[in-house]
Subunit: 248 residues, 6 copies
């Protein structure tokens, strides 16, 4: 039995529910899933400012959770708070963007990301660069329709997405394309016949990476960059987070 | 039900059996495993010359296999023939070194590899570099005892390994260490208490990456670097491989 | 007249005061300085977890400030929240670590950083890498004594610091050394005779970079990665930050 | 009181005068400026051949100067002779291109350069690469009108420049644009309303970087790459330069 | 007297003859040339699968040769088996692609490759990357006509090639262009007047690099990555190769 | 018949003679060699200041030469003026350091340089970096004895050199070592038995690279970074150089 804790660092419960539902579709039989939603901050994350707040919110949600967990999945494509969570958590923490990128690298030499939100293009390019993977990135394209667009005119939305994915393959040289973002969860399977290269689903990648890491039950680092940090006092934080900082 | 085909590109059946046995320990319930052994070439791979032959042998084994498979695992830490297999296979192909490195990157910023065979140090450094991941590599250390050493004096062998892994963490700055190579399969769990950072098992990484990719059933590329290549005639190859080249 | 707003993203007022005092010593005559302290979060920043919270606190402090400012200085060596502040602020935002690194690059080919707090070594190495400057980094050494150490035995503390700086030059190949962190502000001048290469003071670098940028009054980007982001609703944030997100 | 020595390494006195005049407009009150012109070599620098001669001329001008100086500014966008001057000078030496690039990096992730002279495109790309900053460079565009063009039809010239700067932002992804070259000094302020991102003036960047470094009075390196070199005899050089080489 | 052994790792004797003939045209007077053809494998190499087999075939040809040789030239543009041959051979081994790229680097900062076979574009890009030379690569263009095309309509074929080469210079920024592949051997001289930058012939580059290295008679490494590897048993290999692995 | 023009950019005729003599020993029968000495500047090049002057001197020597030449060799290990000469010369220009590094890359993955003059360590590291080859560099060691040392106690000098070369192989991981600098010309052959990896002689590399490029008679670029630059007036230069700048 593997317990996965999903943390959605934005404050929109319906997105948490959608990701949880999608995640269940990809999880193994022996996996139990729970999900938390950020208790403060922006409704969605589409800027560096939102991202900074969401990093705190993700950590806060983690710190106030008392449930069992064998692995944590940070369920926002862009992974705000990932390094902080890795530092304090005794169990592995998987970022949705990070897991997708790494699984894409297992398939081909160069990957592209298709997602929504214009500002994510530069944010994800910098994310990939800060992970040392720029030479593997073919492109980030933010051509995705919104959830509302998909609901209103599914066929047009799918065609738009397929066009974006195909451009990644034919113009940008991608060997594999990642559909990132909760709003696009589950679409990879439907888009397959319309695209010239393998498509990966961000939620699926995160779940299987989490299950894979949990299986090995890797020990917590007791030395180096990701060992538990020293204790520090704080003010005006939630009870759980304050306590986590004091005895990490 | 996921069918994994393991290909051991060297010609030592007992190593194939060991890897298969270890892999079964890490596989999910719904996974069926089969394994092939190279039909020609060196007994083990520990040089660039052996590696070149094993790339051919891996491809040959694949080409002559008629069994069902949803994903292929190249079961030699160093992945001879990986790019060739990815090109011709309609299902995903996972290299043991590649999968381990990518899962290690999901855990921490910098990883080390501990394996046996002095020549593998430079070969794996070049492997990592050719995958664009040099900035994530802390070190490769080839301090591993042989299978015979382990059998003769298990405690001394384990201490030697633990010392090598700890040096990766304390001297080289690794956040996570990979135990690579069939001979070390399964030891990560036992070494845990003796090392200051998470350890990953190469076989476990390959199996969970394979299951994760198979789950998504990614389509075969029909365009670009990993689409099926053009047909080509050949001479003096095995029947299966000759046919594969003619109608890939 | 240039108005500089200093933001100390931790919650220790005495550190804010120290940085402000030091900054005044380096500022031009025509410069007016004000300083804010984080209103929530850790007492100091020495971990990725603290850093994530401080990024939010820095943004929060900025959002709730109504005073005049021509340039903002993020007064924590490591720059939590820098990208978020650059995105929302109409005037330039200068990070103390970023400014120091760039001024060091103006002096020599390779720089080192000497600072306090063991965890900052990996955090600053990743900071430098994410700014694309790894090839210019000779080393980060966290050999600095604490403020208490300096007060107790100034001579021993200075010798310890000088030894660390000299090791950067003689062992790591640095052409120039940065003394980072508020606790070390002003010491560069005193350490000069004991070190074989130029030393830079983090506070001095930040102030002069801020004055230099303010002088040119560069326009706010209206396109691209650092233009104002789209509006987004939020919950349970401070009034100022909530408003900033709604009309950035 | 800070004494800045400007060195124009080409042999056109009117360019020296223009740069000096512009520099005075950006300098602090407590700054005194002097300027030297190359005593031999090409009238302007727009090729690798001219650049090689100008490196010598810059060093020669420095060697024959007896005036007080707290910092030296190499007043040619491209910085011929910068490394040589840093080596021999006891006070900091600031290159105009180098300072501009570093200040641009303080504003945004990726910068572009707009300058005149077709050959400078490759020369500046190589300059940026040799400083390890290629990942920060969005583009170099040599679309600038000549001084004569600007005089003849100022409006058309400004529109041409604005178009080039905008292309850097909208097509090349620059977060910030540098106007390099003496001929464009002072135009950044006027072009602001026509461009979607901050513009930096090369002369302003050099002056404020010089003042900032002079303020800290960094010591001369006595070890390593930029310490004074060993003495060497020479023939047929100017008296000042010959003497400098003999007792550096 | 320098003895060069050419190894064509594909199985088409007429290509071997063509390369040998061309090579003789570029060789010095004191050079004697012999050539081997792969004894098994694909007729030509234009995929990763063919490449893997050809690496083995190149090694096999070498292992079964008893003739005198002072240097080995791997006569396939893409160099399958190069690292393996370098490891086992006591004399230098020169790859045709490798030699061409390095000679191109001696001429200019950025080079392009024009060759035939669509799949080679990604294969050569990865080849250049794995040699750490991506920053020197302007482009790979696979616009080359086939040998049959050239025979049928030489003028059209030459125009097509010239157009491809010119695009490398004018669109991709190449300072120098390599004509790679046996089918294009000798055409560089004819295309000269139609192209704006120097052209290099792959065969000529390989021959002169081989002669240059042979001249110095560099010793075989006895330590490190390219020293002779340890002995290993094997099965079902040719007699020569089996023996080479057993006593390398 | 190939005419090679050697340019020694320092002003010591005896070094020119030594290089010329050594070069003749490595040249092919059909090669004619001439050599020029810098007419002004330092006696030898061992600092950035000397280097800047020597770049001018190399260009000046070239500009005033009226003899026939099919290729130019810049005969100083470090190549001052190389880019300038490539720009103006209609025939190929080969730098001694550049040629050596590229030939070393043809032999192994990672090379080291052993040379004299402490300052050359950082200068050559920067040289390699600016050529994009840092990932291929194992180390630069400046352990070489002077010519006087070699004359006084040849055996001790050879042992010192052998020790330095061996350290490159055993401690720094070099696959191949370059003996750079005129003073070490010809010693590689003698040191062979004492070193564990191939040694290359800088002069030999330059001569064979020059002969190889001359053989192909590559056309002068008429477009791009290395095409002839535009004309420019100048003052107080030698007649030949002034004329070259005016009609390049």
């Amino acid at each position: 039995m593997t317990n996965i804790l999903l943390i959605n660092p934005n404050t929109t419960k319906s997105i948490t529910d959608l990701v949880l539902r999608t995640a269940k579709g990809f999880a193994s039989k022996g996996t139990r899933l729970r999900a938390l939603t950020g208790s403060f901050g922006p409704r969605y994350i589409a800027s560096r400012a939102s991202y900074a707040i969401a990093s705190h919110a993700a950590l806060d949600a983690y710190a106030n959770d008392r449930g069992a967990k064998d692995v944590v999945v940070l369920a926002c494509f862009g992974d705000p708070g990932l390094a902080a969570l890795k530092e304090v958590s005794p169990v592995p923490v998987v970022g949705m963007a990070d897991a997708s990128i790494l699984q894409a690298c297992a398939i081909g030499n160069r990957f592209s990301i298709v997602t929504g939100g214009e500002r994510w293009k530069s944010m994800l390019e910098e994310f990939v660069a800060s992970h040392g993977l720029t030479s593997r990135l073919a492109s980030v394209r933010t051509v995705a329709p919104t959830g509302a667009d998909i609901a209103r005119n599914p066929k047009a939305a799918m065609e738009l997405l397929a066009k974006g994915c195909s451009a990644c393959v034919r113009e940008d040289g991608a060997d594999v394309v990642i559909l990132g973002g909760a709003g696009l969860a589950g679409l990879a399977a439907k888009l397959k016949p319309m695209v010239d290269a393998p498509l990966l689903d961000g939620v699926a990648c995160a779940i299987s990476m989490a299950e894979g890491l949990a299986l090995q039950e890797p020990a917590k680092a007791t030395h180096g960059a990701l060992a538990k940090p020293g204790a520090v006092d704080s003010i005006k934080l939630s009870k759980g987070l304050s306590k986590l900082l004091q005895s990490p």
